[in-house]
């Protein structure tokens, strides 16, 4: 799409340079690439997506070719990116939150029905079979428990076919094909229906046996199913997302169905969801707030110290203090996990040597939360430090000289001048930090994975779980794998963070107006 933005063929130009040729070529290539995506989507049986891409492509080409929309050319890539990376995933998440999508309701209605219809009931144990070869054609020789033998007509492997089997007195002559050959002929054998003289139909049920089987369910004209075993009617229950028998029993697998606000209602009314949700929510808010507070406090104090003219080797300190930010979280968090290990970790080793204590960093809720805050403060303060350093540098020295003449000490300078002056420019960044930490899945997933888990809740959730990791566990780790519920929680989190973002933008705007 960006390549398209360079198409400027219709702009009059004194001469058609090589650059123009390259630009046109790139534009045509981009166009062809987009058309290829349409073709691929059609091949993957996604006509709706293909139509969508085609429509977007049409609009984009129109905008890039029409001089009337010249200014829009610069906006289109951004709008497309926002659509693809924000609107579509968010819309998908919200859409799922209104369904019952989970491990119990994994399939679409059509697929679930197909699964039921393909089920079959077997009668009896079946008959042993041997495969006899006869000049590229095959015969099946059956033997039942009573010692009765049957021999089928010869058949060529390939198409689905019925073969009649006749009663024979003795075991048919010829050697049975070895198992290896039988396995090679599996596909063909699966399609063979053998009919005994009494009319029983046999299908292959294992590598050695054929068994009589009938479909378990039959589809009726009105869309319901009938259980062939007892003739009970089965109806699709769209509210529950199951095929349901007249006697109320539901059949697996369930199918995806729209359940309206059910998931949201569950979160806020069902005690077993509401109670852990509230706990996690409270911890998430306090985590994000405390962490923003701690990182900012440490960062700004260090920034003030590093801006102190009399301090020697400032560059060295700055480099060392900035290092935590340079180490990827994927490395530093597991390192901390090891350091805090209750039995083998260096921290408990030192504490044990000095004070004779071994705190249970991962088993005590308060300690675990303290550790999470500690580790994240370590990870986060360099960012705040660098930000604050820049802002503090922008404060004129004269202000501090004036305050020095008035008799202000370092504390007065910090609280009466530095802090109020950087508060306004840094406020949007603090809110952004709050929002980021609100969703800090990485830290929790790598450090505690929510531990210690609560023992009194129905869903798996721990004392250090944030909403993000709680959602993650519901979606991917809970035995229920409740995607829809997880999506509902995600949507709520999205709403909260979006509100923060709007507040942030408003604050930022006000700040700019007043400057």
């Amino acid at each position: 799409m960006t390549a398209l933005s360079m198409r400027k063929v219709e702009v009059p130009s004194p001469r058609f340079s090589r650059l123009h040729a390259v630009v046109v070529l790139l534009g045509v290539l981009a166009l062809l690439a987009a058309l290829a995506i349409v073709v691929l989507l059609l091949a993957a049986h996604q006509p709706a997506a293909a139509a969508g891409v085609l429509a977007v492509l049409g609009v984009a080409v129109f905008i890039y070719l029409s001089p009337r929309f010249y200014a829009w050319r610069y906006v289109v890539p951004g709008v497309l990116a926002a659509l693809v990376f924000i609107v579509v995933p968010m819309g998908y998440t919200v859409a799922i939150s209104f369904t019952n999508y989970s491990s119990d309701h994994l399939l679409t209605f059509e697929r679930a029905t197909e699964v039921l219809l393909s089920r079959s009931n077997s009668d009896g144990a079946g008959l042993d079979f041997k495969l006899l070869e006869d000049a590229n054609r095959y015969r099946l020789a059956f033997a039942d428990e009573a010692g009765q033998h049957y021999l089928s007509a010869s058949f060529a492997p390939g198409a689905a076919q019925r073969v009649k089997a006749e009663t024979v007195a003795d075991e048919p002559a010829g050697t049975a094909l070895p198992l290896k050959r039988v396995i090679a002929l599996q596909e063909a054998l699966k399609q063979v229906t053998a009919e005994l003289p009494d009319g029983t139909e046999l299908h292959q049920s294992s590598l050695r046996r054929f068994a009589a089987s009938r479909p378990a369910y039959t589809r009726n004209a009105d869309g319901t199913l009938t259980d062939n075993a007892d003739g009970v009617r089965i109806q699709a229950n769209w509210a529950a997302g199951y095929w349901q028998r007249a006697d109320g029993k539901t059949l697996q697998p369930g199918f995806r169905a729209s359940v309206g606000w059910h998931n949201y209602v569950r979160i806020f009314t069902e005690q077993r969801f509401l109670e852990p949700f509230l706990r996690v929510f409270a911890w998430t808010v306090s985590f994000a707030a405390l962490n923003t507070l701690f990182t900012f406090a440490i960062g700004v104090v260090l920034a003030v110290a590093l801006n102190w003219d009399a301090l020697r080797g400032r560059n060295f300190y700055r480099l060392m203090l900035f290092l935590p930010y340079a180490v990827p979280a994927f490395i530093s968090i597991p390192v901390f996990r090891g350091l805090f290990n209750e039995n083998l970790g260096e921290i408990n080793l030192v504490l044990d040597q000095l004070f004779g204590i071994r705190p249970g960093w991962f088993s005590d809720a308060t300690l675990a939360r303290s550790m999470v805050l500690l580790v994240n403060a370590w990870l986060g303060y360099p960012y705040m430090m660098i930000l604050s350093m820049g802002l503090i540098k922008a404060i004129p020295d004269e202000l501090y000289e004036a305050s020095a003449l008035a008799g202000a000490g370092p504390l007065t300078n910090f609280f009466r001048i530095t802090l109020p002056l950087i508060a306004r420019p840094i406020a949007p960044l603090l809110i952004a930090s709050f929002a980021t930490n609100f969703n800090n899945l990485t830290l929790i997933a790598l450090l505690t994975n929510g531990a210690p888990d609560y023992l009194d809740t129905a869903v798996p959730v721990g004392a250090t779980d944030l909403l993000a990791s709680y959602t993650y566990r519901i979606a991917f780790q809970d035995s229920g794998q409740n995607y829809a519920l997880a999506c509902a929680i995600s949507s709520i989190v999205f709403l909260m963070v979006a509100t923060l973002a709007i507040v942030n933008l408003k604050l930022f705007k006000v700040g700019r107006e007043q400057r």
């Binding site: 000289e401 004036a402 305050s403 020095a404 008035a406 007065t412 002056l421 007043q514």
Partner: protein, 380 residues
């Protein structure tokens, strides 16, 4: 309320050259002293040394007779007005003014009284609740002065306070600072500027600082004195050039004869001019510089008796004054024409041939080392 004494003050940064060199100075109680000089002469540094914002490398600084070298700025009984005002942008005007009072532990009611008084004096009562960004440059200036005044300091320091104002406001504020000092000025004042008009109009005493080689040779101070003293009796060429606008006309010359009543010099074209300066230390044949201010040159017809001939190159009419630039072929330094100050209605025309009389009693003579010879006509 406090005198300021500087005894051989030096300022030097680590491993660098002297910024301020050997400044000794006495600023009397209640005196208005102006530090003036070209940029880089260390005048602001000297002021900041008095304020305590810069360390003193050498020498002793006394305020009210007490050595204050090692005292913190707030303990020196000084208040300062900064070039960029240094108002706290997040505080209102009244909070800005009361900032120092609060820190000194003054009680709320008294602070309010003091702020009210100062606001009245400076006519900023209606601005007290505003933030500095809502004020004009002149208003900010008043607030900055108010913040310094309210502390009732012994010494009042100004660091180029008018340099951010436009010309009209600058004149007005200059007058107000002068008025304030006259009416409320119990404090000694040190005022730094690079503008000689401010220096001449405000100062009881001017300290002219110089820079570069002159500083290394003679110390930072070029001349200390009243404004008129510096104008009439510049101690050396630097002072003569710096003070006065337009600049003093300078002509290179050679001593022809010496007499107790004056020194006769020959200009480059041979014209002989007699100047009423003491001949002490001069020898016949010495190279000197002859100086004369524009208002002392007189147009005349005759061609004898301290008269130079010339042709008018350019004329500037300022309304009240006319400046005529006279071709300096007769002995001015080649690149500069002589400037003559004439009455506003003078009918001089470019191209006129004129005679310029150099009055003996108004001539300055500077020796080869740049130092002025004592003028016989000058008042002591």
């Amino acid at each position: 309320m406090a005198s300021v004494t500087l005894e051989h003050l030096f300022k030097r940064y680590d491993g660098g050259a002297d910024i301020v060199r050997d400044v000794s100075l006495e600023i009397a109680d209640g005196e208005f002293c102006v530090f003036v000089g070209p940029s880089g002469c260390g005048k602001s540094t000297l002021l900041r040394m008095i304020a305590g914002l810069e360390d003193i490398t050498g020498g002793t600084l006394r305020i009210g007779g007490k050595p204050v070298n090692d005292l913190a700025p707030s303990e020196r009984d000084v208040a300062m007005v900064f070039q960029n005002y240094a108002l706290y942008p997040h505080l209102s005007v009244s909070q800005n003014i009361s900032f120092g009072l609060k820190l000194s532990g003054m009680k709320g009611p008294e602070i309010r009284t003091r702020v009210g008084q100062i606001a009245k004096v400076l006519e900023i009562e209606h601005l007290l609740e505003r933030k500095p960004r809502a004020l004009s440059g002149g208003q900010r200036q008043r607030v900055a002065i108010g913040r310094a005044l309210v502390r009732n300091p012994g010494v009042f320091l100004f660091d180029e306070p008018l340099s951010n104002l436009d010309a009209a406001l600058r004149t007005q504020t200059r007058l107000e600072i002068a008025r304030m000092h006259r009416e409320y000025g119990r404090a000694s004042t040190v005022y730094v500027t690079h503008d000689q008009v401010e220096a001449m109009t405000l100062g009881d005493k001017i300290v002219l600082l110089h820079t570069g080689e002159d500083m290394t040779r003679h110390g930072s101070v070029a001349q200390v004195g009243t404004p008129m003293d510096l104008y009439q009796n510049p101690r050396n060429l630097f002072v003569a050039r710096f003070i006065g606008s337009p600049q003093m006309n300078l002509l290179s010359a050679q001593v022809v004869s010496l007499a107790p009543s004056g020194v006769t010099v020959a200009l480059r074209d041979g014209t002989q001019v007699t100047a009423g300066v003491s001949p002490d230390g001069l020898a016949v044949g010495a190279k000197v510089t002859l100086g004369v201010r524009s208002e002392h040159l007189v147009l005349c017809e005759s061609a004898s008796g301290n008269v130079l001939g010339g042709r008018i190159q350019w004329v500037e009419h300022l309304g009240d004054t006319t400046f005529a630039y006279v071709d300096a072929a007769h002995g001015g330094t080649p690149e500069r024409a002589l400037v003559v100050r004439l009455p506003g209605d003078s009918a001089v025309v470019v191209g006129d041939a004129v005679g310029l009389r150099l009055p003996t009693e108004h001539l300055h003579v500077f020796g080869e080392d740049g130092l002025a010879l004592r003028r016989l006509a000058a008042r002591p």
